[in-house]
């Protein structure tokens, strides 16, 4: 039938074209253009761009601030994603138990995920406030959470965990509820306790989905910008400066579009490597 239709003038290209054009303008062209920009000396307040070869990348390798930002980004990513997955899995298993009111509860859990990150960061900034913050009041401390070189990064991580755990929890909850109840029933008849049914039913069946959630969250955390911009702006003393923040500063404060684009390209390649590793892991898990 479809072959017959093709003969009478099916033109799928016409339906693909609008999306293809928008993607070409907003995504594909910029990817090529940023690669070109990263190979130029280009200041927005200076002369026209000149070809620089790999000079920007040579500078990148010697730039301690870049390595600092990479280290901060990796630390932020690893710690927050680990916490999000651990807490999110806990939430998912809890919410999979039978209780009245799951629909409203799902809405409640969605809320932190759905509000703008900037708003969430402002809320936490106020709670972290060293003088009038509710966190200091409740803990009986007088810590300047966002002004302290050690605490600032962890304060940002806590905020990110609060905001992103619901995403993990809801996806894992959907996965957990799609496991046939008969499996658990059979396990119980065989005398398996809660831990053993988790170990031998929930965990193996949830693992591929867990990996997908990990991909999304790792990439999401690696590109962190909004939260840090509002909470600390990268301070104190660059201890919370992530790659996205550093690239933003070089691009839009120093107006160095050549070097800033090189940092952006580096972020792009990091994300590509992370994705490739996960895709490999996913392939192995599904085998």
């Amino acid at each position: 039938m479809s072959r017959l239709l093709q003969r009478i003038g099916e033109r799928p290209a016409a339906f693909l074209a609008p999306a293809a054009i928008v993607l070409a303008v907003v995504t594909f062209f910029p990817i090529v253009y940023v690669l070109w920009l990263s190979l130029t000396h280009y200041s927005l307040i200076g002369d026209a761009p000149t070809f620089a070869g790999i000079e920007n990348f040579a500078r990148l390798f010697a730039d301690r601030r870049f390595w600092n930002a990479l280290g901060n980004t990796l630390y932020f990513t690893v710690v927050s994603v680990a916490l999000e997955v651990a807490v999110g899995l806990g939430f998912a298993l809890l919410l999979a138990r039978p209780f009245v009111g799951r629909a409203p509860m799902r809405a409640v859990v969605l809320l932190p995920w759905a509000i703008p990150t900037v708003v969430a960061a402002r809320m936490w900034e106020w709670m972290y406030n060293g003088d009038f913050g509710v966190i200091n009041y409740l803990l009986g401390t007088e810590t300047n959470w966002l002004g302290d070189p050690v605490w600032a990064m962890h304060a940002a991580i806590v905020m990110d965990v609060w905001k992103e755990t619901p995403f993990v929890a809801l996806l894992l909850l959907a996965g957990r509820l799609s496991i046939a109840p008969e499996l658990y029933q059979a396990a119980r008849l065989d005398g398996a306790g809660a831990w053993r049914s988790f170990r031998h039913i929930t965990w193996p069946l949830l693992k591929p989905l867990l990996l997908i959630v990990l991909i999304f969250r790792t990439i999401g955390a690696f590109r962190v910008f909004d939260a840090i911009y509002v909470l600390t702006g990268g301070g104190p003393a660059n201890t919370t400066e992530t790659l996205s923040i550093y690239a933003y500063k070089v691009l839009f404060q120093a107006l160095e579009f050549g070097y800033g684009s090189a940092i952006a390209v580096a972020v792009f390649f990091c994300v590509a490597i992370i994705t490739a590793v996960y895709v490999q892991l996913l392939k192995e898990a599904q085998r």
């Binding site: 799902r106 969430a120 996806l171 997908i212």
Partner: protein, 303 residues
């Protein structure tokens, strides 16, 4: 992977709790009351975790200015709406709210229109290169926004779109199209191909078949996709920050991040503004929580 039946999940299970084998088995072990108390205690704790920061923001927004800098008391001695009034008078906040609505609605319409046409061509018209296209779509959805902010900035300047809402609508629809195509494809694939063939045989053009037959049946998919796109556009910050320069085109997240404070930060007003910007999202989440989760799982799982 089989995470398809989110719709029939927990609420369904709740209604027939009595016959749920899992539940009955638990009841038989005799740990029933403890188990249930533990569950509800846990649920309350999770709810508190999610809501506490928002609740504190609400309390802050209702505090008289003098009490913003005094703790205790935890709860204000009297409730005031003056922070809300301040946000709406002598402040560009209403304009930014309007900007956010226009941008989010515009991006949603474009992503849905272009996305459903593309998904339709991929699934029902059997466009060639299906697999390659989907791989590209997925790869671009992984693209970190910072990676293309510099070329996009130059492009938008060159097009004369700097500081316009059109710049944000264009960018957001581009960034959400991959997700829209992805989710809509997974929904359209569930509709039988015969629907389309029959419509064609009855004399519909492909466009008529899409608009009159396929899309009405794909309404849940459109809703799920539209919600995700709207929330993305409503919340986006990096591009909104770099492509806008004045209140003419600034969206609420930018307004809240750059909230003016000459000598001291106006915490009460920030709290009021951030709660107000949360309201539309709150309503969407309350009404459509199931659709949103459906869209998320369709987006994440169908790989």
């Amino acid at each position: 992977m089989g995470v398809a039946n989110t719709d029939a999940d927990g609420d369904e299970a709740m209604r027939k709790t009595g016959s749920d084998p899992e539940f009955r088995a638990v009841r038989k072990t005799g740990s029933d009351p403890e188990f249930r108390v533990g569950t509800y205690l846990g649920v309350v704790l999770v709810a508190a975790y999610c809501l506490a920061p928002l609740a504190w923001q609400l309390v802050t927004s209702l505090r008289p200015p003098a009490e913003l800098t005094t703790l205790p008391p935890l709860l204000p001695t009297r409730v005031t709406l003056e922070h809300y009034a301040a946000v709406f008078t002598g402040h560009p906040f209403p304009r930014m709210l309007l900007n956010s609505f226009i941008v989010a609605a515009g991006a949603t319409v474009i992503a849905l229109a272009f996305g459903s046409a593309a998904a339709f061509a991929l699934t029902k018209m059997r466009a060639r290169g299906y697999g390659v296209l989907l791989a590209i779509v997925l790869a671009t959805s992984m693209l970190p926004p910072i990676a293309t902010v510099s070329p996009l900035y130059l492009l938008i300047n060159a097009l004369g779109l700097r500081d316009t809402l059109a710049a944000l609508i264009l960018t957001y629809s581009g960034f959400t199209l991959p997700l829209a195509i992805w989710v809509l494809t997974s929904f359209l694939r569930q509709l039988p191909d015969e629907l389309y063939s029959a419509a064609r045989v009855d004399g519909c053009t492909p466009r008529q078949a899409l608009v009159r037959v396929i899309l009405p049946l794909a309404a849940p998919g459109l809703a799920a996709t539209g919600l995700l796109v709207f929330i993305f556009a409503w919340n986006e910050f990096l591009y909104a920050l770099t492509f806008t320069a004045t209140e003419r085109s600034r969206t609420v997240p930018v307004g809240i991040a750059l909230f003016p404070g000459l000598h001291e930060v106006p915490w009460g007003e920030i709290a009021a503004a951030s709660l107000l910007v949360t309201v539309p999202v709150f309503v969407l989440v309350l009404l459509y929580q199931r659709r949103i989760v459906e869209g998320l799982t369709a987006g994440a799982v169908k790989g």
